[in-house]
Amino acid sequence: MTTETLARPNPTPDPERSLRGATPPPGRTSDRVFQVVTLAAGLLVLVVLALIVVATASQARAWFNAEGLSSIFSSNWDPAHHHFGAFGLLYGTLLVSFIALLFAVPTSVGIALFVTEVAPRRVRRPIVYTIDLLAAVPSVVFGLWALAELIAPLSHIYQSVSSATSGVPLLGTLFANPSGSGEAFMTAGIVVAIMITPIVTAITREVFVTCPASQKEAALALGATRWEMIRGAVFPHGRSGVVSAVMIGFGRAVGETIAVALIIGSSPRLTANIFGTGDTMASIIANEFGDASGTWRSALIGLGLVLLVLTVIIGIIARTVLARADRRLGIVAR
């Protein structure tokens, strides 16, 4: 290809400078071309994201025109009468995600602590690999498993808990009207919790690993038990990292579509009965989009846009928190 010129060594990673007046070294155009090509590839991400926003927004316009932005806060989703209030779906998404985080965060923190503090060294890598296997199982397989094995026993549990707590002031309303088949907000929350555990664990684990050994050893030297050491040294150090992990898990939970679509019962509504059926934004799109037309389809695309905006906002908050935590720790952000 090009001839190797025995030029002087370049001190900085920018060999583009050429001697003034001399003929440009061979291969300079190919360098420029390559730079442009890679820049274009990088820009593609921006282009795709922008296109997604533009395309969904334009298709959703019919919905906004028909009902206005306030439709996001109306809970009347009634395609039969052309009412497309999204609030019930937004509520369902948030409720399922909240239940999922409630189960997943303590579990993930526990696993991360196990792997970084408690487990013998040889067990650590296998455990990490096994938990990551959970991330490899596709969402649809979780949905299939839940439909076949989980909803039947859960429906019995819901019935028992519901009858046991009927009449109790707060819990009674929360657990009233359990779904007959076991398809419910709670069921979806449990399955989503299983699915987001690997990512939350992975991020939390990375954060805990960066805790300086000196701090941990100091705590132990002062007579702390392991738990006290964790509370005193690991947790304060990793606090914002855990927050970031929770946000990322939240973002994943919000976007979970297929498993939820199979087990939530597809009844969009605003209700406090977490053992009852419901619906989320992502799963209603999956279930109803195929045959929706006109304003209905536009409303579903609008839900997709709301979902996109929600996950982008959550993602930005999560990365910003993580970046700030990194900066505080002295990890230089790129």
Binding site: D78, P79, A80, H81, I151, A152, S155, N177, S179, G180, S181, E183, G265, S266, S267, R269, T271, G276, T277, D279, N287, E288, G290, D291, A292, S293, G294, W296
Partner: protein, 356 residues
Amino acid sequence: MILRTRLLRRAVVSTLTLGLVAAGYAGIAGAATVQKGQPKLPAATLNGSGSTLTEAFLQQVIAEFKTVQPNVTVNYGAGGSGKGRQDFVAGVVQFGASDAPYGAGQALPSKPFDYIPTIVSPVAVTFNVTGVKSLKLDAPTIAGIFDGTTTTWNDPTIKALNPKVNLPSQKISICRRSDSSGTTQNFTTYLTLAAGPKWTLGEGPTVNWPASAVGNNGNTAVASCVKSTAGGVGYNDFSDAQAAALKMASVKNASGVYIAPSVATATAALVGVKLLPDLTYNPINTKAKGGYPITSPTWLLVYSTQSDAATGNAVKAFLTYIEDNSTKLAPQVGYAAIPSSFQKAALSAIAKIQVG
């Protein structure tokens, strides 16, 4: 090899002749199940979508048609009558399947098209109640169940119609369709016609079901929902309900008789039903004596002019095959064929489709 004796030669010749004649008969007999004089069509792909009510019938027909026209691939993606009507308008499919004609407020196809009637199917009211093997229901009671006012199975309204049945106090769980469904449309039309003021949710491809009703995508999913929910009730095409071994209620028809859904009672429902010039008809809440009152019609949608020759000829062959063979194939999968007068009208409409 020399055929020495005359006897041996005669034996060989007669065996050969017999063989040729037998082969000829087999060929002709085989051709009889093909359209008369219809040669093998060149390769073509037909895509269709729509009604899940008629899905099992279309699947059966597609499998049989493949043996007759092996070069034509027919793909049917179901998705609900609303999707079928819509995909047909958008031109994404070559034929649509819908249990109801285009209605007010729906986008119509821009080019002339035909409704091709194929079969009818009873819409069964399926239930899964502990210890209950049979139920008699009338329209007002069904309305009360599906609009959420009747909440338990031992409700007095249900008890009144079924005095001898031991109804438990199980909660009623409604399984309904979440997609734009022709089955929903016909079911709610029936309730509007027969239950009068008792049914307030209206009629259409989708209605505003009670909040706790579980939505399902497609007829088979409703069947699955009823099957797996203790105390579940739903509305299903007879074919899926039967194949899933679900219990079905006997519904009181316009003559006051409780009729169980079956191929025979669906056929009986068509007695006296008139076929309109555009080949639509309405057997819902039929006046026919032994007819099942919730018998759903269904049509295939096809454009009257086909631009592509291969696809056009394939579509015509496919539709003709359905009309010629539905009387035989439909009952095999739990559907009832339409009267031969309907079939004749359909065949003449198909023949009028212009290709190329």
